[in-house]
Amino acid sequence: MSRHSIRDAHARRHERVEALLPWFVNRTLEAAERREVEEHLTDCDVCRRELEVERGVAEALRDGGEPAPAPHPRQLARLLERIDAGEATPAPAAPRWRGVAWKPWGGWGGGWRSVAALQAAAILALVGVLLARLDSAAPAPTTGYRTLADAPSPAAAAGDARPLRVQVIFSPSTTEGEMRELLDLVGAHIVGGPSPLGAYTLELRPAPDADPPQLVLGVLRASPAVRFAEPIVGAR
């Protein structure tokens, strides 16, 4: 083999390996291809650097992902109704995020399954907005919320300015707008979740600009957007 053709062969292999790197990173290459990549990496600086880049991108993408939402129980119910009705033509039957008014949700229904199926879709929005708007002043709530005065919570008693973590389960049909307003209002951000039960951990913004935690907790509990809000014991 001439020096020229060796160089060509190397160049072709380099191109082939470079194109495969994303799937080398995600570990889905067949054994033979994986070996070829590994071998080539031992003597190609360019591909080694490229590999590091790919790993960085992969990691950033995974980290940038929103928490995976669980299905809305009503949504599945409606889908099953469509199946029962023998509808052959798919038609939009799911509740849309926009314009879905909050309605009381009739109990927990199927117990664990329903709990696990709590609507979390709109939380995708919240994570972003809370990260982006931690410095926002609390805006006036517009519609859809009861005020603390309307539904005072026993927890909203004496003030306590220390940071508080609260476990929250949102109502299934809460719209993203409602959730944004609520979390902006109380100055909370999501630090964990969803748990297997669909619960999220919120951390309330510490003083001085935040409301006392008990007040915030009261607001959360009073909101129709929230089905459950409890301080996490030992987190304060």
Binding site: V25, V53, G56, V57, A70, R82, G128, E176
Partner: protein, 187 residues
């Protein structure tokens, strides 16, 4: 860990087993949601797309021939439904994901959407936004959902080399953002 394999669930769905369908639905909903949302960047269509996809799975589970993993088949259906929805909503745009033109009113809520802002917030989100829908699909399916390139070709219903080419171009575009991601430049 899994009580039943996806294969078994699909077989039972093909036999019109409702409980199996519900299990499959719950199992796949989060992953499909993430994929369809990030692909379409349209919060308002995700639920509709997922419903249509799941209904198609219910209706056509008997067509699953077992030549691929069930997840590949299921993602393929969701991808197809997502492109259909995008095409319906943006008939003047290619499904390749051209950005809306200025003054374009087809995404009235999107610029204001929190989800959109969530996407926009991250540097990588901005990079992904610059990709075509098909390029984004390849990137997402590779790094987020960890499919092989052959499986991605099945999902997107395109040749394997097309998958590699799309990824190659996507990488070139994303690379421009690497300094901001704290990743050193290669090459």
């Amino acid at each position: 860990m899994e009580a039943r394999s996806d294969y078994e669930l699909l077989a039972r769905v093909a036999a019109k087993d409702r409980a199996a369908f519900e299990e499959l639905y719950r199992r796949y909903y989060p992953r499909l949601f993430a994929y369809v949302f990030r692909l379409t960047r349209r919060a308002d269509v995700v639920e509709e797309v997922l419903n249509d996809a799941m209904l198609a799975i219910w209706t056509h589970a008997d067509r699953f021939a077992g030549r691929s993993r069930p997840s590949t088949w299921i993602f393929g259906i969701a991808h197809h439904k997502a492109l259909k929805a995008l095409g319906r909503l943006r008939p003047h745009q290619q499904a390749s994901g051209e950005e809306p033109r200025e003054g374009d009113a087809v995404e009235p809520q999107s610029p204001d959407s929190l989800l959109e802002r969530r996407e926009l917030r991250g540097v990588l989100g901005q990079g992904l936004r610059q990709l075509s829908t098909e390029q984004r699909a390849v990137v997402e399916l590779t790094y987020f959902h960890e499919f092989s390139y052959a499986e991605i070709a099945q999902i997107l219903d395109c040749p394997v080399n097309t998958v590699k080419t799309r990824m190659f171009h996507a990488r070139r575009r994303l690379r421009a953002l690497l300094p901001q991601l704290g990743v050193s430049h290669a090459g």
